[in-house]
């Protein structure tokens, strides 16, 4: 039963990630792309934790914590960088 839930989660997250990347590629303006990137970073975090739980390896969870911290900082930097360009991405 638990393996069923874990693999179900894995497939759902993979489907969400592909749909969000499609949104990322399609998005007309930079703001849609940032929205998609925000969702993608949370989905990547969920995938990391899920992989940590399935393989019962504690290392992935530490990686997930560091990923969350630096992902957030990187996200701040990207929005700061995009602020003054003329939205020509």
């Amino acid at each position: 039963m638990t393996n069923f839930i874990l693999s179900g989660m894995k497939y759902f997250l993979i489907v969400f990630a592909t749909i969000t990347t499609i949104r990322l590629l399609l998005g007309p303006s930079a703001s849609d792309r940032l929205v998609a990137m925000n969702v993608l970073s949370s989905i990547a975090l969920a995938l990391l934790i899920l992989w940590g739980v399935t393989t019962k390896n504690v290392l992935y969870l530490d990686v997930a914590l560091v990923y969350d911290i630096f992902g957030f900082l990187g996200f701040l930097a990207i929005t700061r960088f995009l602020k003054n360009t003329k939205d020509k991405l």
């Binding site: 039963m1 989660m9 969400f16 929205v35 989905i43 969920a46 914590l65 929005t79």
Partner: protein, 109 residues
């Protein structure tokens, strides 16, 4: 043993329901703001309910404690990320034109 899995299954179903709705919203809405609403709804809620399901299913105490810390930090960083994006959209190029066109019709803005 069964109760734990049933509760985890419930959270899993809730999370995937929110995810599917969020994904549909991400494509249906025309405006970056409503896309941000749908996207952050689907991103934060889905991942949060998955984390709770994983918290219930976690095999050892070490993993459980780490997941609790991760949940706390995720709840801090994800919504702030969304608010940063909304601030960026508000200052970006086309939001200015939108506001100018809105100002012509309605003086209150």
């Amino acid at each position: 043993m069964m109760i734990k899995e049933v509760v985890a299954l419930i959270f899993f179903i809730i999370g995937s329901a929110f995810g599917i709705v969020g994904m549909i919203g991400l494509f249906r809405f025309k405006d970056p703001y409503s896309r941000l609403h749908a996207g952050s709804l689907c991103g934060t809620t889905t991942v949060f309910s998955y984390l709770i399901a994983l918290l219930i299913l976690s095999p050892s105490i070490a993993i459980t404690s780490r997941i609790v810390i991760l949940i706390i930090f995720f709840l801090i960083s994800a919504p702030t990320g969304s608010s940063i994006v909304s601030k960026f959209i508000w200052e970006s190029e086309e939001a200015e034109d939108q506001r100018r066109s809105m100002q012509k019709e309605d003086k209150s803005l």
